[in-house]
């Protein structure tokens, strides 16, 4: 009780038990599952069950582990409850990789307030709900890791992406408190703030500077799972980029178009 999860426990949690992958159709989640599946059983969660079935097959071939597929919808709380029930029966300890989200164009949300609210629900409300549902299991196991993908967009509200950014900012704050709660039971909570990733989300923006491929991202995140830091930027230079961006005075920042 009351002790920080040491490196050894974190390592053990990362290499055995069960990893539940929330939003497992995304390319970074798929890549992370390949890493996590090296030593743990997997539960893939999401809406596109056909796609999850293919990923599950892939992981069984590659890793030879048990891989379950469980329907999960960030906007449907009943699915959160059902997932928690399913996870009760999986090998302990439980670790969580939270990667679901949606990022509509800001202009679309400016034209449609309901879409803005739905985006908050999907990115923030859904994350809070599932993590609240999973908390008792994590606390009971008393070890394991929760990895949640935040965003550099949550570090500062921007003209081009402020609704999504605000949801991620909320998530960052939520995870701070959740970390304090889990810390008391020996569970590590890792906030990952991705910079540019080379995925479908950024494809139409053209080649972006330092854009990281999903498998490299997954490896970096797994390294962070085994490390000491609890909030990490991947790729790491974003820590310094965001330090600069955060330090721009509001009076000036509001005039920028980024």
């Amino acid at each position: 009780m009351g002790r920080a999860p040491g490196a050894r426990e974190a390592m053990r949690a990362a290499t055995e038990g069960t990893w539940v992958i929330l939003g497992a159709s995304s390319p970074v989640a798929r890549a992370f599952a390949r890493e996590a599946g090296c030593g743990a059983d997997l539960v893939l969660c999401g809406r596109d069950l056909d796609d999850l079935g293919r990923t599950a097959a892939d992981l069984r071939v590659r890793r030879g582990r048990r891989v379950d597929v469980v329907p999960f919808d960030a906007l449907d709380e009943a699915s959160h409850k059902a997932l928690a029930a399913h996870l009760e029966a999986m090998p302990a300890p439980l670790s969580v990789f939270l990667a679901f989200g949606s990022m509509p164009e800001q202009a679309e949300m400016d034209a449609d307030p309901a879409l803005a609210v739905k985006t908050i629900q999907a990115n923030y409300g859904g994350a809070v709900s599932i993590l609240q549902h999973l908390a008792p299991i994590l606390e009971r196991h008393g070890t394991g890791t929760v990895v949640a993908l935040g965003s550099v967009a949550g570090d500062r509200g921007r003209l081009k992406n402020y609704v999504y950014g605000s949801a991620k900012a909320g998530l960052h704050a939520y995870l701070q408190g959740y970390r304090a709660r889990m810390f008391r039971k020996g569970v590590k909570v890792l906030t990952v703030k991705p910079g540019f990733l080379d995925t479908g989300m950024t494809w139409s923006a053209g080649p972006l500077p330092m854009a990281m491929a999903p498998d490299a991202f997954a490896k970096a995140v797994m390294k962070a799972v085994r490390g000491k830091a609890e909030v990490v930027y991947v790729p790491w230079p974003w820590r310094w980029i965001m330090t600069i961006i955060r330090s721009v005075p509001e009076a000036l920042f509001k005039k920028t178009n980024i």
Partner: protein
């Protein structure tokens, strides 16, 4: 579906094309992308084909590299089902430790299976193992109509024949069933020997070699006169036991090499040194499959070696009857032009490929890199004529210069291929720069 305007480049860097590209991450996205694609469409893999076979200038390109999952593997039969973006490297990393090797592999592990099917690729074991298509049980193909169709030798057989080696014109392969080969270890036992001239090189290539299904001769394309065709023969077979494979770090070619490095004198010197590397008496070594099958993969971006202008790779196959004479004429043409680069690769082929436009036929196949310099077109034209005279054909995966007339003469099953395209893609949805250049669809 997200789209991006981008320039795609053949591996030889001579051909480029501007396309509107999507890179779907799920099957459903691929289907949506095909539906939403403007103009003609080409499926694109890892971009390891040399010429313009994987380009579609002014049209759409659907990149399959993110569809890279294994869908099933049967340890008992070796049957693997995979998505098209899986690479040979992935096959090696995943299955070699379990004692399975891809039955056929091209010379780079970075190529995708989808691209491999579309080009019906072959490897150093073609003589006994045939081409990739010979090991494919069935294919799932996303066709022009938007539906996914399963094709095999028994089911939609016309589609199967047209897709294997069909350079992407029938649709986009979404699933591949392939039978992996069992191997007793992760290394090959490679026997190398030095051969003084073409006759001895060809004779060595044709010797029966039980237990050594992999054979390749590296020939000095610049040696002339009595030394014409001098080379090194490598014959290999699977060796027993698993040895730790040193994870050699890849080197990368950091920038384009200036032209003089690959000038005539430099290449001559390199080739002479390479030839002398192997003793006249021959040598035997246990070599990790990775190193034996993919020697150039150790240098990332090796195509930059030829500088900004890029290079062509010429590969043809000529039937055994008259083959040695044709190979001699081809090597003499390189020698005269002084343009063959490092090493020519000479192999024997044993079986025709199963596709309408499969490259393979029993005979001898020769591959040579040719730096892109003024006058290269004349040389390529001459090589085309020699090949045609000998009743051979040029490999579309490498080609960048063939003429439509020569293509028609080299690929006698073209009418049947066109008929199949008429049935499955009457509107000509799938198209590539190579197909336009060779007028493959004309009359289809």
């Amino acid at each position: 579906m997200a789209w991006r305007e981008m320039t795609l480049t053949g591996w030889g860097r001579v051909h480029q094309a501007r396309s509107r590209a999507a890179r779907p991450e799920r099957l459903s996205e691929l289907q949506r992308a095909l539906k939403g694609a403007e103009g003609t469409v080409a499926g694109v893999g890892a971009g390891r084909s040399y010429g313009d076979v994987g380009l579609n200038g002014g049209g759409s390109a659907l990149l399959t590299t993110r569809l890279d999952r294994f869908l099933s593997f049967d340890e008992a039969t070796g049957e693997l089902v995979a998505e098209p973006g899986v690479t040979w490297r992935d096959l090696l990393d995943t299955f070699l430790p379990r004692g399975y090797l891809a039955p056929v592999t091209p010379g780079t592990a970075f190529a995708t299976l989808g691209g491999g099917v579309a080009n019906d690729v072959h490897g150093k074991n073609q003589e006994t193992a045939g081409s990739l298509g010979d090991h494919v049980n069935w294919l799932d193909i996303l066709t022009a109509s938007g539906e996914v169709v399963r094709a095999s030798r028994d089911q939609n057989a016309d589609m199967f024949r047209a897709t294997v080696g069909g350079i992407g014109l029938t649709g986009i392969v979404t699933g591949i069933s392939l039978t992996m080969a069992r191997v007793p270890g992760n290394t090959a036992l490679v026997h190398s020997r030095r051969l003084p001239d073409l006759d001895s090189t060809l004779a060595a290539l044709m010797e029966p070699r039980p237990g050594q299904p992999y054979t390749v001769a590296w020939v000095d394309a610049l040696a002339g006169g009595r030394e014409l065709g001098r080379g090194i023969l490598e014959a290999a077979g699977p060796a027993d036991g698993f040895v730790p494979e040193k994870q050699a770090k890849s080197l990368a070619m950091p920038l384009d090499l200036p032209g003089f490095v690959l000038g005539k004198a430099g290449v001559r010197a390199f080739n002479a040194l390479y030839w002398r590397r192997v003793s006249a008496a021959g040598s035997e070594a246990r070599v990790p499959w990775r190193k034996f099958l993919y020697p150039l993969d150790a240098i990332l971006h090796w195509n930059r070696m030829y500088g900004r202008q890029g290079f062509h790779q010429f590969q043809c196959v000529v039937p055994h009857a008259g083959g040695p004479y044709a190979i001699r004429r081809l090597l003499e043409a390189f020698g005269r032009a002084g343009r063959g680069s490092f090493l020519a690769v000479l192999k024997a082929m044993g079986r025709p490929g199963p596709g309408d436009l499969s490259f393979a036929m029993p005979g001898l196949t020769l591959a040579v890199d040719i730096p892109n310099r003024p006058g290269v077109e004349e040389l390529l034209r001459e090589l085309e004529h020699i090949t045609l005279d000998a009743g051979g054909r040029v490999y579309l995966a490498k080609d960048s210069a063939l003429t439509p007339d020569a293509f028609r003469a080299m690929y006698p099953d073209l009418p049947r291929f066109r008929e199949t395209l008429r049935r499955w893609d009457p509107e000509g949805r799938f198209e590539t720069d190579l197909a336009r250049r060779l007028r493959i669809r004309e009359g289809a």
